[in-house]
């Protein structure tokens, strides 16, 4: 695969009008990392369009979904509903997939969802050690750190240390549950509702909920004193 990829790198550069002298770099075994991905991705896209395998407008539509239609505000809506509607919360914890379907947030990389609840005694945190599994419809595409080697390697062996780095130290008597997403279901953390939010509306609560709290590396902070708090 090395050889072929190097061949590709060199030729894609040429196809995009690159100076071929640059391709000499790729003769070294250690130099296979793309240095000009913009041009090489463009070259592949042109090829796939010319071969009738890809419609550029379909790419635009998918990117629009990833950038604008999925994301943590969907997950925050689920959390706020669970905090304000005990029957919904019960359904959510019993069958996350069915309850989330009520809100219309099921989708790719989030067709089967299990919701795990953080309490004063149990803290859940999500990881995918093998790759990058993550509930896309609820949280969007995962951040770089979630997909990174340090997070993937450390969270299963040292969850408390990882949580401390995220500003979430836990007492010894709290049980930490790490969920390594190895199969098809995607995990989602229902964070604890902070104190001082008893009178807040569902909308105001949703605005408090962060992506990191729904991954389980953070808690939802108490609202600042002020209107609505």
């Amino acid at each position: 695969m090395n050889t072929t990829r190097r061949g590709f790198l060199a030729a894609a550069g040429a196809a995009a009008g690159q100076d071929m002298a640059h391709a000499d770099d790729h003769k070294h075994d250690h130099q296979v990392v793309p240095s000009d991905p913009t041009l090489r991705v463009k070259a592949l896209e042109s090829l796939l369009v010319e071969k009738g395998l890809v419609d550029r407008a379909a790419l635009d539509a998918l990117i629009d979904t990833y950038e604008h239609k999925v994301g943590p505000r969907n997950g925050a809506r689920v959390v706020a509903r669970a905090w304000t509607d005990p029957a919904f919360k019960e359904r959510l914890l019993a069958n996350g997939t069915a309850a989330i379907a009520e809100l219309g947030y099921l989708g790719e990389q989030g067709a089967d969802i299990r919701v795990v609840e953080n309490t004063p005694k149990i803290h859940n945190v999500i990881v995918c050690t093998l790759c990058s599994c993550y509930p896309w419809p609820l949280l969007g595409l995962p951040p770089v750190w979630y997909k990174s080697a340090p997070y993937r390697s450390r969270t299963v062996i040292d969850p408390r240390g990882v949580l401390r780095e995220f500003g979430t130290p836990l007492a010894d008597e709290v049980e930490v549950r790490v969920w390594d997403s190895t199969a098809e279901e995607r995990y989602f953390v229902l964070p604890e509702r902070p104190e001082g939010t008893e009178k807040m509306t569902e909308d105001a609560l949703a605005a408090l909920v962060t992506r990191d709290a729904m991954i389980g590396v953070a808690k939802v902070a108490r609202p600042q004193a002020g209107p609505g708090a």
Partner: protein, 218 residues
């Protein structure tokens, strides 16, 4: 495979670096790659799995590449392995002379709704489960050369079935002996001490979703 991707429990991979207000994509090409991968998959002609292709990247390259660089590399491998493009075409950036032009499998209108058209991942197949919640099991000590979802850190370790997660398609590409492709998957609880020894917290646990073929009674 026992690849670098299977990194749960490793030390020495650096500090976690969090970027504040991170954009969805850091460069335009990243979005083009993930979208191209999705469109190509929608054509239904891809014979090499994305994850298997990613895991086949040599370890040193895997660690050096960014996430979407790995996806881009894997996408090319998928396209070539599936016969959708040739390496020559990729190298030239042009279709071969006389190559047949396909019709894109996904229109813009389809693509706009694709992410929310839900296909559940559970298989509606009636199969009797081999294990029940509360049962003690052990993850098998297997070292398949192909794609597997049984991480190394759990192999040989004892755990307890927490929940039956239903029937899912078995993802491994190489496993000795006949294996049913549709199997029950179980959430299995492993105590932190079982996985990491006495220095781990006595309270903590790691849960993995494991296919029946990965498990044996303990």
């Amino acid at each position: 495979m026992n690849g670098i991707h299977d990194m749960g429990g490793m030390h020495g991979l650096g500090a976690i670096q969090v970027e504040k207000n991170e954009p969805v994509f850091h460069a335009r090409w990243e979005g083009r790659v993930i979208a191209m991968r999705r469109v190509v998959a929608a054509g239904g002609k891809v014979t090499l799995g994305l994850r298997e292709a990613i895991e086949s990247i040599p370890a040193a390259d895997y660690l050096r590449m960014s996430y979407y660089e790995r996806w881009f590399t894997a996408l090319i491998e998928q396209l070539v392995a599936s016969g959708l493009v040739t390496r020559g075409e990729v190298e030239r950036g042009k279709p071969a002379k006389g190559s047949v032009k396909a019709t894109p499998a996904l229109t813009a209108a389809d693509a706009a709704t694709l992410s929310f058209r839900v296909a559940g991942t559970m298989l509606k197949v009636e199969i009797a489960p081999r294990f029940q919640a509360g049962q003690h099991v052990r993850a098998r000590n297997i070292n398949p050369a192909g794609h597997t979802r049984l991480p190394r850190y759990a192999r040989g370790r004892a755990g307890v079935i927490e929940q039956d997660r239903g029937v899912q398609a078995f993802p491994d590409t190489h496993l000795a002996g006949p294996v049913e492709k549709a199997q029950h998957v179980y959430a299995v609880r492993f105590t932190a001490r079982e996985l990491w020894g006495e220095a781990a917290s006595p309270r903590d646990a790691v849960y993995l979703d494991l296919w029946e073929a990965y498990l044996e009674p303990a």
